[in-house]
Symmetry: C5
Subunit: 378 residues, 5 copies
């Protein structure tokens, strides 16, 4: 049996790769990590400046000039850069370690004067792909660090450049919301696509269910599991950000995070609903498959059942009893109309059986399985 799409070829991203026995507290870059690229955006209500930095020192004049500073690091292959960032912005060492050690779960950790936030971003593509983003939120700076290109913050960058909305006025505090919101928004098209796949699978199951569909539903179910694992912790994160006092988040920004919380709740509800639908779909698929197989077996069995008695009659008159020895020995063989009589007998048998089967409802149309006529009038 050849499967056209094996949904299990590429493993999901959920396996933790922890180096057993390494001391906690060691900041050491993964050997295969890319060299960091540092982008800086400094802005205030009146304008903004954007640079790609060669080394972190270059940012000093901007940090002094502008009230808000956003440093974005792509590629975590150089622990020096991360340690410099830690020293310059007084980040906690444990948080720095979490940045380096990949496969963290989404979480929010408050430290004395900054917040540390980990989230997973959905990357567009055929296969479900989730990338980790680490965010530090300070009074007048925001750091975003990620291992590889994920392409989720350009819309925020553009809004800062255009400066139309409140984003430039409200500082890094509001920027933290804009970034988280942008990450959450990336899940909606993904969820929508999975919903569409589910709907088209539903249609296929109704039109013509096959074993193949079960494999694909199983594959989708696994991706829903991975999605839920990625999104579910964000509910608690946004709940805390929108309800509790978490400096440097101000009360004004809390109102915005309430919106974010609503979106995450919506995402989780949709995922859960889709998972329930997919479970029902598997049952539907299995029952339809077994129903179709039963239909096949029934038709074949009816054919066999009709011909077996006929075969018996034919066999009967194939016996070699000697009609010459006695008048009782198969006199039919010598009747004038013996053969037509037997053919008639056979036709009668077939008709009798067909009438019986029809009365039992076993010859009913394909859409309904048998039993329609007689069982409606018991």
């Amino acid at each position: 049996m050849i499967l056209r799409s094996n949904p299990f070829k590429q493993p999901l991203l959920r396996r933790p790769r922890v180096r057993v026995g390494l001391a906690p507290g060691t900041i050491e870059a993964h050997p295969e990590s890319a060299k960091p690229q540092i982008r800086m955006m400094a802005y205030g209500p009146d304008g903004f400046e954007e640079r790609t930095l060669q080394h972190l020192g270059e940012m000093v004049p901007f940090a002094e000039k502008w009230p808000s500073l956003w440093i974005h690091v792509e590629g975590l292959g150089d622990e020096g850069v991360i340690q410099q960032l830690g020293e310059r912005f007084a980040l906690h060492k444990l948080a720095l370690e979490d940045v380096i050690s990949r496969n963290q779960q989404p979480k929010l950790e408050p430290y004395d004067d900054h917040l540390f936030l980990v989230a997973l971003v959905a990357v567009p593509g055929d296969q479900l792909d989730l990338g980790q983003v680490n965010i530090f939120v300070g009074q007048n700076f925001i750091l975003t660090l990620q291992e590889r290109k994920l392409d989720w913050h350009e819309s925020v960058r553009k809004r800062i450049r255009e400066g139309r909305t409140r984003i430039r006025k409200l500082g890094t505090n509001y920027l933290s919301f804009a970034l988280l919101d942008s990450m959450v928004d990336r899940y909606f098209p993904v969820i929508e696509e999975y919903g569409d796949r589910l709907t088209s699978l539903e249609e296929e199951v109704l039109a013509n269910p096959a074993q193949d569909e079960i494999f694909r539903i199983h594959g989708i179910r696994k991706e829903f599991l991975a999605l839920r694992t990625a999104v579910a912790p964000l509910k608690e994160v946004t709940r805390i950000l929108s309800r509790e006092d978490m400096p440097p988040i101000t009360e004004e920004t809390r109102l915005f995070f309430r919106d974010c919380y609503d979106h995450v709740s919506h995402l989780i509800d949709t995922i859960e609903t889709d998972r329930e639908v997919s479970r029902g779909l598997i049952d539907l698929c299995l029952s339809t498959l077994s129903h179709k197989m039963n239909e096949v077996m029934k038709v074949l069995t009816i054919i066999a059942t009709i011909f077996i008695p006929l075969g018996f009659i034919a066999g009967l008159y194939g016996m070699n009893f000697n009609p010459e020895r006695s008048p009782f020995n198969m006199p039919e063989l010598n009747w004038y109309l013996g053969y037509p009589f037997v053919l008639g007998l056979m036709a009668l048998t077939v008709m009798g059986l067909l009438i019986y089967f029809r009365k039992k409802g076993w010859l009913g149309g394909a859409g309904r399985d048998g039993g329609s006529e007689n069982s409606k009038r018991p």
Copy 2:
């Protein structure tokens, strides 16, 4: 196989259509939204006035004259109207954005001097249809905004006109309850209809189960899921309104919201019970279907099993051994009563098999599957 009713033709209304990358804080009407129609109702204990407004400015004299003002906007195609409303009633900008962005989940959001409430209203019809309604509750005004005609507030309007009950005396505060209550009440006939469909499906399954019923139960189950998603958040909303201090809701009105809370609990309980019943129904349907198929197979197999030995006997005496060569070679062929003897042998075989089958209970009536006689007396 032709399905008479495809329950999946029209997708459910639960897919969020979020515009990725749009700045939060942008109020921008959907291009395909209808032009707003504004209806105003101003009333007090002594009377009421009702108008259809061309522009919002017309309402000023009424707002001054009457203590309670209810503005109803149908069609959200003009962001100007919404922004004017926001300015005149000092509504929070985030709430205005939620009004515009469709596919919100039901929720309650307290702002400084007004409440913002989102709910879904069930629209009568063949297909489950849910429409979003946004309500602002202020000290002396109520705004209701919705995308399209939903037809859920006429009964409240009528009560204000008639002025018999407390509705005119208790102001907008009580009106907020009357509106929410009216929305919740719209779910009862929907739930009842689904309950009736379930009951009639139950009867069909008992009378004559078919593959088709499984599709229909699957369809109903999906609509129950959508209903639960729409109603469940209202439980928390009404719980808060009936228990906690939420200005401008007064303590007196809180008692009424307790009633609302009871109704929502009742709805959710009924939906959950119906979902459990429907799950049991699928099992019932599957087991009955497979039982019926088994019955068919059993009867067919019994027929085949009876005729195969007969066919063997006939084949036996169709052999061409030469009786002339030896007295052992099929002497039956030359017996005087050879043929009657074989026919008798066949009759005995049939009787023996029938007796055996009956003793095993395999020929028992259709209502009971086999095994009745002998297994009752082990």
Copy 3:
């Protein structure tokens, strides 16, 4: 297929019949409601008086003479009586509306100086039948209102008449407990009967499972659902009454409600356990049914499988090859012992097949399905 008992004939009592669009706050009797019959019981530590009242005014002298007054109204067909009660005892209007509108869920609502309690009473009979009882508990009065004859309070009445226990001494406060306790007690025989039905179904399934049993288990499961819906809210009601300060319930009576709470917990536990057992029973029934069908098919297939090779041998020697043309053409036909040889060949075939089947364990006894002998010694 004729079902002897259709468990779904009478629908369960759980459908809410809400009149959409009616103003909350309207007290209006159902047209088909019975005329109210009013019974009064007035008592104190020293004695008691019992009357059937024609109108409510008659109760005044008794209310003055005795410390405790219990008014029982059966039939809610006259809104005048209910409104009079409301005025005389200063009952809240919302509670009065709940009395009239049937199909409430059990609940407890505290008002300023009285409690309002709704419960469902189990009515003995073949079919699960639940009747709504409304109770108002005041400082020195208790009102019980119900739509129809439910027969649950006679034992309480008798205890007041006999005056042996503390019931006369502790006033209406204790009476509220005695009434609730009496209602809860009515569930125990019902649960017990359902448990007995389950046990007898279990025995039937073990002795001789049939499709019919699945319908009956499905029916019982639905009634368990309805029972749970009726009993579950009482857990919260009795928890509040036994833990929290709910005037006019005194601390002394709270201890008694603790007992009530235990009973309700016990009820719910039993219902949940029974539901789990019934779920296991369905699985058991399905597996036994399919096992029995498989047994049938196996025996029939074995018979067919034995006779088909025999039929082939017979067919072989029914061929008409001309033995006279060549010594290779079916010389067996002219053997002296040709026929006995073929019969022997057939006997050997049957024996060989039987030995093979027995070795495979397919002929093992009915209690064990096949495979016993050989698979124990792999």
Copy 4:
């Protein structure tokens, strides 16, 4: 089908037998209850005395002499004794009623100066048997009351006699822990035995699954349900005893109850795990059963499928076309090697079918179901 062990013969002990309509507050012994036997144990750090009492008055001197008094009553057939106990130790009347009314659920009830504790003790034996024990814990006395011989406290008694551990020093306070701990410990061998049964069932299912095993797993599952019902409430009881201030339990004893709480948690976890395993076992059993049946059917069908074409060939040459009439009429019959040719044709057919079946993997070994060779190289 004869079942060797019907696990449902003896009903579980979980049905409440409540006498409907009896006034709460009535202490009345069950008619079939045994006469009480009263054992007394009085002890202090320096020694102990043990007596069997004829009447309760005899205990007075001991109660004065020793700081700790333990009265054990077996048989609740005499309400006089219970009422005397109630008066002498100032027990609450509601608790006394609970002692008499059997089939209570485990619970802890604090009264002013004593605790009332109900627990179920596992009685060793083939069938799951649970006996109710009622314990009153006072400042300097402990009462244990039970209906029948349960044999759970001898080890505690022995420890008091030996006086080696802290039991004599720490008074009734510690004794209450020792008694509860002893009761909890009785569950461990029971759980262990059920675990062993489950393991041996697992082995049977793997070696040779049969319908019988499903009945037995179903039986064990029911007993796990009953065990959980008996043990689960003890978790809350021991949690309260180990965490909250419950006079007369001292803070020192609370530390011991923490141990008890751990044991109960362990019990519940084990029961839950075993229930999950048993659920998996049923699935395993069903799938193995159906797999075996399928194997049988497959072999039988293969035999039939091979012989049916052969039978056709034989039938072909059994036709009576007259070779003398035309050279086209079955010339094979007159071939010199006609018969060997047909036999060879048949052998070729068999070989062809066998090769096809083998290629399809349908003749693969029994351990693997078909498809091994070809599907590994798609």
Copy 5:
């Protein structure tokens, strides 16, 4: 049927082996326990010393010299050693009993001046193996006690020796975190291996499902259950350690335990996800198995169904009606092209049946089950 791997051979380690009736408070070594081996590690910011002790007294000088002392005991076969430890470090007696009594669940117990922690460590190997570790955390000492070699703390020991990280500076307080963290880390490779097994099972199921796979999935599921039981209590333990004030854990170390809590959450999430995947896998396996069996049955039935009508035709012309008696008696036998006519009839029959089957889609390729061509265009 031969199973290559019986996953149930070695029972899981979860059965409690409690000695019923033993007094709590008795410290008595198990007879089969190994003699204790005592290793000591004393260290401070400036250096460390490591010894294997013969008796506990030897540690006194080190305890005085160094601020942090770590005593590791392997083998609990000598109650003397444990009691000495208890006296020297003022450990609570109940905790010492827990050390001796094996099969504790993971837990954290605060005592006046030390913490007592029980955890299970995963031991590498083919079979899931969990070993109990008991840890006492005091102000300046840590005791680790275990029954047998478990090999989980060498990495911590090495870090102390190297002294590079903060481990030497932060004292026993930090050491407690390092030890717990090291234990938690041991689970990751175990989980990863089970995940890999699941993935390879998934691939097998997709390539070639067999009954065998179901046994193995069932086995893995049982091990997931055991893993969850071992890991789940650690979530609460680490939550308390990271959130609540638990002397001697300082606030600084609490931040580290937050990391530990994250890891445990991650573990539990992964286990739960894997369990869900494995459940889906069983369904997938069952459905694929039954699908394959159905495919087999279908092909076999098609063969039989084609040959049965052919056999009938052959049987028909094997009848012995006497063509000489009448022109109606099987004139075909004497036709010039009688035999070719019959062969043609048979060929037509086969073609008719094949066309019918193909139209019905029953001969569709193996990957898709039937119905592809025609049902796509209804």
